[in-house]
């Protein structure tokens, strides 16, 4: 009997692990056809270890969603402990009285093993309930599982259940066959740990009446069955979305830390940064083919668990646009796998020879452009996945606002925004293919230095109505920012040129002046930071603007900079270091909160209004500034803050990011309307934000409702203006922001 058991078990193991191993090897070779990691991007070991502990072992991101989080936590740890049970089962192949040295003598160890196994079962029950409740069949696009592979997901749950019960049943038979209970207490009591294994004991009592010899046969049969189930499951995993149980570990280790938000990466080719002043002839400009992603990119696609957390938060998806970050990841993975034979044959063909043996299907897949053409009528994103002339439909790529909600949620640290921008880069730089309207903005940036094409001469008009003098760099003949200046005030294009944002620019200037903060502006010396160009993929233009600004800032000796725009903040603080600009950058809400805390600003006049606050993506998620704007609002007497349901890390985008501000929004419903409605729902009379683009977007949404006779008296304004009203209610700007 033991011999049969051993030979069959060994055979099973070798064959199954062989198949799984071959698959893993294939995936590894596929990864090798991709681009190397960005040269200077090596994981910081400390941060990676911490992330593994928090995110893999601690399941931190999963636990943010309480019910599925706890269930996943249970399955994860259940499986971890189950590994001991599996080890015991393998040991059972050789010796039916095998026990793990040391632990095996303790009854409580068996108890713990069975407890975690039961936790697994309970979690599976929870997952079944979740999958039924959130089934796409009922919820359609609202379901986070819409577009996921549903069959395999159910199969996985079924298989985990099978792994657990077969192992427990085997142990039950073992208890009878080895007379664990009868011999308990005697000097040579076998498998002591099973004495405490309560679930296995239940199976044992079930099988006991069958008699000892039957139980012996049952022991072998169940052991082989449990191993077959487990090994079969392993093979299945290597062919499915469930690969995340292996891949999430390296994926988390190699992820950008602290998170893949904030700065975008420069353009890399072959692991080296592309020098835009003198690009190499063969340099890749972004991603035009699947193999132009780095291997970490492919690892991302392979790791996606199809959980749909990202999809549930995505503003594009929630307004019926053809973009779901999950579906995008799945599509890229499916394409990589379909193209794999072509890639491997081409890469591994000896130098100078034609690759051979490429299957027809792979060759066809290889011919598909990565991004489909504009106006592709066949492009579709629905429950059957993605179709169209390209792998990724044009509108899928361009619907993204780079809001980062997907990256924020992803439990396995996938870097969606980086991949989307990399694909846009190729489209813009190599193909000149992008939504036409945005071309005007690019041209304006190039010719006038601002997105609207107004030109530098208008950049000081905002300050004219102020009742004090704003110091302009160079006006007094200085060639360096004088020492008495605390901050360089970066007004930004919106602050200088857009009428509503000019009011904010004045409010901030007035408040700094009131607090005795010395500041100076560059006036005509400012140009756009380049954020919209970069997020659209026009890295070349971004580099041009960034280098020009950094040159100016370094020349004037800027050290501390205050900005009023979330996008300026992100670019100056996080991206200019990439081009040699290192400054201490503060957002106006942070500075104002500090001035209030230090009592240099004392809000006195009451502003009796209910207020709600919209977290701008580039201030909140991308830069973790959540508290300061709320502190400012909290300091204003009379103002009461009511939060929107989607707030802070889960704030819903206004629709302007990722250069979407300069593109027509004709698909689905409007993102800004969705968010404005949410703000109106709070019954707040003041809808506040801390970014000029959010304010334009929300104002537009509120104006639409007012046109329909709703949201009467609702006003959209910057946090700074609310503070201004409490400190200088006499000013016209303060009055202008009062709802009438």
């Amino acid at each position: 009997m033991m011999a049969v058991r051993f030979i069959l078990g060994l055979l099973l193991t070798v064959v199954c692990l062989g198949i799984a191993g071959r698959r893993l090897m294939f995936l590894y070779r596929l990864g090798r056809t991709a681009q190397p990691l960005q040269g200077d991007r090596r994981p910081d070991t400390g941060a990676a270890v911490k992330a593994e502990l928090l995110e893999v072992a601690g399941q931190r991101k999963l636990l943010r969603w309480t019910v599925p989080g706890v269930a996943h936590f249970a399955v994860f740890w259940g499986f971890m402990v189950l590994l001991f049970t599996v080890l015991e089962a393998f040991g059972g192949l050789v010796n039916s009285r095998f026990q793990i040295p040391f632990f095996g003598n303790w009854a409580w160890f068996g108890f713990v093993e069975d407890l975690f196994a039961m936790l697994c079962v309970a979690a599976i029950a929870a997952f079944v309930a979740i999958r039924i409740k959130e089934a796409p069949a009922g919820l359609g696009r609202r379901s986070r599982f819409f577009g996921s592979h549903l069959g395999p997901a159910w199969f996985v749950l079924f298989m985990i259940f099978n792994v657990v019960w077969t192992l427990l049943a085997y142990r039950g038979a073992s208890i009878n066959a080895q007379r664990v209970n009868e011999l308990a207490g005697t000097p040579d009591a076998p498998l002591k740990f099973l004495q405490g294994a309560f679930a296995s004991q239940w199976f044992a009592s079930l099988f006991h009446p069958l008699g000892e010899s039957t139980n012996e046969i049952l022991e072998t049969v169940l052991l082989l069955l449990s191993l077959a189930v487990l090994l079969g499951f392993t093979i299945f995993v290597t062919y499915s979305k469930h690969l995340h149980i292996f891949l999430s570990i390296p994926n988390v280790a190699f992820a950008r830390r602290p998170r893949a938000l904030g700065a975008l990466q420069p353009v890399y080719s072959g692991g080296k940064k592309v020098d835009f002043e003198d690009p190499g002839d063969d340099d890749l400009m972004g991603v035009g083919k699947i193999e132009d992603f780095t291997w970490k990119g492919l690892l991302d696609f392979g790791t996606c668990t199809e959980c749909g957390r990202c999809q549930s938060q995505c503003p594009a998806w929630n307004t019926d646009k053809p973009l779901s970050p999950k579906v995008l990841m799945m599509t890229l993975r499916d394409h990589a796998l379909a193209k794999a034979p072509y890639l491997l044959a081409t890469k591994e063909a000896p130098e100078g020879t034609e690759p051979t043996g490429i299957p027809e299907a792979a060759a066809t897949e290889a011919e598909k452009p990565l991004v489909g053409p504009m106006g592709d009528e066949s492009a579709r994103v629905d429950e059957h996945g993605v179709s169209g002339e390209g792998v990724v439909p044009f509108d899928m790529l361009w619907s993204c606002t780079t809001c980062g909600a997907c990256v924020e949620q992803c439990p396995v640290d996938i870097e969606h925004v980086d991949h989307i921008v990399d694909m846009r880069r190729y489209q813009v730089l190599m193909e000149s293919a992008f939504p036409e309207e945005a071309g005007i903005m690019l041209r304006n940036l190039e010719h006038a230095g601002d997105p609207w094409g107004l030109g530098a001469s208008m950049r000081l008009e905002w300050a004219e109505p102020l009742d004090f003098e704003v110091r302009v760099f160079g006006a007094a003949g200085e060639d360096q920012i004088p020492d008495d200046v605390d901050y360089l005030y970066w007004v930004g294009c919106a602050g200088a040129l857009d009428d509503t944002a000019k009011r904010t620019a004045r409010a901030v200037a007035t408040l700094l002046h009131e607090a005795g903060v010395e500041f100076m502006v560059l006036g005509e010396g400012e140009t756009c930071t380049g954020d919209p160009a970069r997020r659209m993929g026009h890295e070349f233009l971004f580099q041009m603007l960034a280098m020009q600004n950094v040159e100016t800032l370094n020349e004037v000796g800027a050290k501390r900079i205050v900005v009023t725009c979330a996008h300026c903040y992100n670019t100056l603080a996080n991206e200019y270091p990439q081009v040699g600009g290192h400054y201490e950058v503060v957002h106006h809400t942070t500075l104002l909160a500090r001035l209030v805390a230090e009592k240099r600003l004392t809000p006195v006049a009451r502003v009796d209004a209910s207020v709600t606050y919209h977290d701008p993506c580039y201030l909140g998620r991308h830069n973790r500034i959540f508290a300061a704007p709320r502190e400012v609002l909290g300091a204003v007497p009379g103002a009461t803050l009511t939060e929107m349901p989607r707030t802070r890390e889960r704030s819903f985008c206004c629709g302007a990011g990722g250069a979407r501000m300069w593109m027509d929004e004709t698909l689905g419903t409007r993102i800004n309307q969705n968010r404005a409605d949410e703000a109106i729902e709070t019954s707040a009379s003041l809808v506040t934000a801390a970014c000029p683009f959010c304010i334009t977007m929300l104002s537009d949404g509120v104006a639409q409702r007012q046109q329909e006779g709703r949201a009467v008296g609702v006003e959209v304004t910057d946090v700074a203006e609310v503070l201004l009203r409490s400190i200088r209610p006499d000013l016209a700007d303060a009055a202008a922001a009062v709802p009438d």
């Binding site: 309207e437 997105p451 609207w452 094409g453 530098a456 027509d664 104006a703 046109q707």
Partner: protein, 231 residues
């Protein structure tokens, strides 16, 4: 060539073929001796750049409406040319042509005059007054995004940052406040006339002529006056 989308495309190709210098988007051209020089406005009209083409022949695209067409005395002669068309070029065939349903008005992007309406028109019917005014002047019709979002006018008529960019000789904006998103699409117009009942409307800042008043009174009066003068 005209600096429209098609003209620019053709001009660039011609310049490459001829290995010639090209000046896009010029507002003036002059020939001095053998060299061609052209004036372009840069930095949103703040500067005028004069450039010379060093490598003849010169290809110049002209900004729409920068000059008006003039009749030149010349006699035409027919010259026959043999053109070899590659097979690849014959791959696509034009099956039928369907001319865009014409509104009988000039095309928005290259019209010499544009009359545009904003939220101030009040309704779809109200937008009719904009169309009437445009027809009286022989102008194209434009709209702010508010109007096109409301479906008071078709989407193609939207002027601004996410719509069309226009630079006519005359831009008459009625009931448009002048948000920067709208200005971005029309600020290079030569003469800007604003009709708005709110004297503080920001668009007045860039207007050459402004009328503070109800557009439903002002525009019909304008139409009558035009009709009278036309006789």
């Amino acid at each position: 060539m005209t600096s429209g989308p098609e003209g620019k495309d053709v001009a660039a190709r011609v310049a490459v073929r001829l290995n010639a210098g090209i000046i896009p988007d010029a507002t003036k051209v002059s020939v001095d001796g053998g060299t061609v020089s052209a004036v372009q406005t840069v930095f949103a009209g703040r500067f005028q750049a004069t450039s010379q083409v060093l490598r003849a022949p010169a290809v110049v695209t002209m900004r729409p409406n920068a000059t008006s067409a003039e009749a030149a005395p010349a006699s035409a002669s027919v010259e026959s040319v043999d053109v070899a068309v590659s097979d690849a070029a014959k791959g696509a065939k034009v099956d039928s042509r369907e001319p865009k349903v014409s509104s009988g008005r000039p095309e928005l992007t290259d019209a010499a005059m544009v009359v545009a309406g904003g939220r101030g028109v009040g309704s779809e019917d109200g937008f009719g007054v904009i169309e009437k005014t445009a027809d009286a002047l022989g102008a194209a019709v434009g709209a702010s995004r508010t109007v096109t979002d409301q479906h008071w006018a078709p989407h193609e008529l939207q002027v601004g940052q996410t719509g069309k960019t226009v630079a006519p000789s005359l831009y008459l904006a009625a009931g448009i406040s002048g948000a920067i998103q709208h200005r971005a699409g029309m600020q290079s117009s030569k003469t800007i006339v604003v009709v708005n009942k709110d004297a503080k409307a920001p668009l007045f800042q860039i207007a050459d002529f402004g009328v503070v008043g109800d557009l439903h009174a002002v525009l019909p009066a304008l139409v009558d006056e035009v009709a009278k003068r036309k006789g």
